[in-house]
Amino acid sequence: MNDETIVQLLWDRKEQGLENMSAKYENYCFSISCRIVNDKEDAKECVNDTWLNAWNSIPPNRPHNLAGYLAKLVRNISINCYNKKHTFKRGGDNITVALDELSECIASGSRVEENLELKLLTDTIAKFLAAQDMTKRWIFLQRYFYLAEIKEIADRLDMKEGTVKSVLCRMRKQLKKWLAKEAIYL
């Protein structure tokens, strides 16, 4: 089943859409999550949360690229899971745990200014990536969006790890200049 049909089914609130989506994208989402949380059980949980999030967010959202949409959902859910796990692993020092608990009370997790800042930063990075050629963009996203290991990226492209590292290094320097040009100082 193609993505448009799946989105339409979800839009119409039909569970068949959810079943087809999970059948088609389960391995894809699981591999993304597994790279981040590094635990099969946690990854499974994150993938299930992803289906729930997709079900709740379509509508109002109507993604044009379902794979990308799900990748974003599962990535962010997995990073939250990783952060939570590590907060408790750190020995659960009271302040960190308390702050983490309190952060759930804040409406969207951040202030308006922070949201605007984040939006501006996202737009700037998107422009930067759009200006790069396809392979470089893919390498950057594999490393910093999908959080893949350098060896994995190099193997998939039949490249040496050193080449991937130097491409990433040059891109980070370029991004730094790009952000400065757009008057974003981190």
Binding site: A67, K72, A126, T135, T163, V167
Partner: protein
Amino acid sequence: MIKKEELLLHAIGNLPEEIVAQEDIDALKIGARQLKQEERKNKLIYISRCMAAAAACITALIISVNVFYKPDSNKPDESILYSKIHSDTDSHTDHNKASVEKICQCLCNGH
């Protein structure tokens, strides 16, 4: 307070779906080949720069030796001194010749 790296990670996580969607791996491999060539070119440029820098260092060293190290003009040339003294001492005995050679050496070494 969000850390800067976390902010960047968040921002990358919010990129539009069209950008983050996986691309066709075959097309990417063609791009990877070009990247490898580019990388080789960069390495060659780096090596040639290193070689140019090394050549410049050697040239600078040679020039500085020529400029700052002048052979002492007052120092007598050993061979001229020998021939001069030998011509004067042809009639001397071997013992004297040996003494003269010793003196020549001492003179040349600046003693």
